[in-house]
Symmetry: C2
Subunit: 222 residues, 2 copies
């Protein structure tokens, strides 16, 4: 197989961005040297500067990739049909899981980017568009759900999405510092409030079964 130059170039680019995502998330942008990123990617600073023009450019490129990648992942649970306690819980756990792999640092890198974006419009603008996109997709999902489940939203899909995303982020932030203080159940209950659902059962998940499309998910107990 004859690798073209383009392929090689693309791989270097990908490796650098990958390494940057990992290191920036774990240690923070300023705490990581350009050389450290290059080394982790199995390349040198020369390649890094050739591709991105510097550390800042690398951050920007990282954001662009990050943009679509995680939005899809986060919203996978909502794209479908019925909002269940488990689905809401899973949504939150995407933000808070602390396994060894990249999931661990999702929130960290997200906040790292946010912090830069809040200070530098060049980062802030694309980041704002990213959040807007997430909200839009979430709003769409929520509207569909409300339609399907027959539970009218308490307000516009857009406002509901903003609040839902806000609650998720804010609870994840608290959770990271003190996991036991933010039970998943508390978050799910809050999300139910925002969606205009009554309380679920106190300690089990009987309401969480899937319901056939068009039917109300909770039978008559909701």
């Amino acid at each position: 197989m004859a690798r073209t130059q383009d392929q090689r170039r693309a791989e270097t680019r990908a490796r650098l961005i990958d390494a940057a995502a990992d290191l920036f998330a774990r240690k923070g942008f300023h705490a990581v040297s350009a050389e450290a990123v290059a080394e982790a990617a199995g390349r040198t600073t020369g390649a890094l500067y050739n591709h991105f023009g510097g550390k800042e450019g690398l951050l920007l490129a990282l954001l662009e990739v990050w943009k679509d990648q995680t939005a899809a992942e986060l919203l996978a649970g909502f794209e479908d049909v019925i909002v269940l306690d488990e689905r809401l819980a899973a949504l939150f756990e995407v933000l808070t899981r602390d396994d060894g792999d990249r999931g661990a640092s999702w929130l960290l890198l997200e906040m790292e980017l946010w912090l830069h974006g809040a200070r530098d419009p060049e980062i802030g603008e694309p980041l704002a568009r990213r959040y807007a996109g997430i909200r839009a997709r979430l709003a769409e999902g929520l509207a569909d759900w409300a339609d399907t489940a027959g539970v009218p939203l308490r307000r516009s899909p857009e406002r509901t999405a903003t609040a839902v995303l806000g609650l998720l982020i804010g609870c994840a932030v608290q959770h990271r510092l003190d996991p036991p203080a933010v039970e998943t159940r508390a978050v799910v209950e809050g999300l139910r409030d925002l969606l205009g659902l009554p309380d679920g059962p106190p300690h089990d998940h009987h309401l969480s079964r899937l319901a056939p499309k068009g039917e109300h998910p909770c039978g008559s107990t909701c």
Copy 2:
């Protein structure tokens, strides 16, 4: 007036912490040199190292001061009596106001500290205690309010407080990147959901008047 050495020392300490709060919030911890902080405080690095042993120590000391200072400010609106739309709105605006002074950078410094705390337990532990304290006071305030207003909370004061704080933080984060996308009204409505209140009036604030203690704040329209 004869200044004692202790007074002078205390002032230097205060000036350094003050300057650090300002600079760390505006530019980020790593982007600010120890010398820059010292200069902004009208001192030199010698004094800084004498007091705090380095930049890291300064950050830690800053956190300790920050700890009580802003919790009180944030919760001032809740300590009192009735939860009104205006009070809820004011609560959010404490987090998002962007005037020239320190209020502008409150959220930035908060996230700056959070990011360090998420990576370094030495920062994370006191920070976690700080958040726990805020939640506890907020929970107390909410319980009192529910009692006074005769509106039972949908769940325990602790869980309610966690969700309320989460929604505030998460919405403030979104707001910072894209203010028009997060209307104050949307946040207030979300908070009302969490507190188990019905929707307020669509576009005015007739329900927001103060009510005498012990009476239901909204008369019969709530």
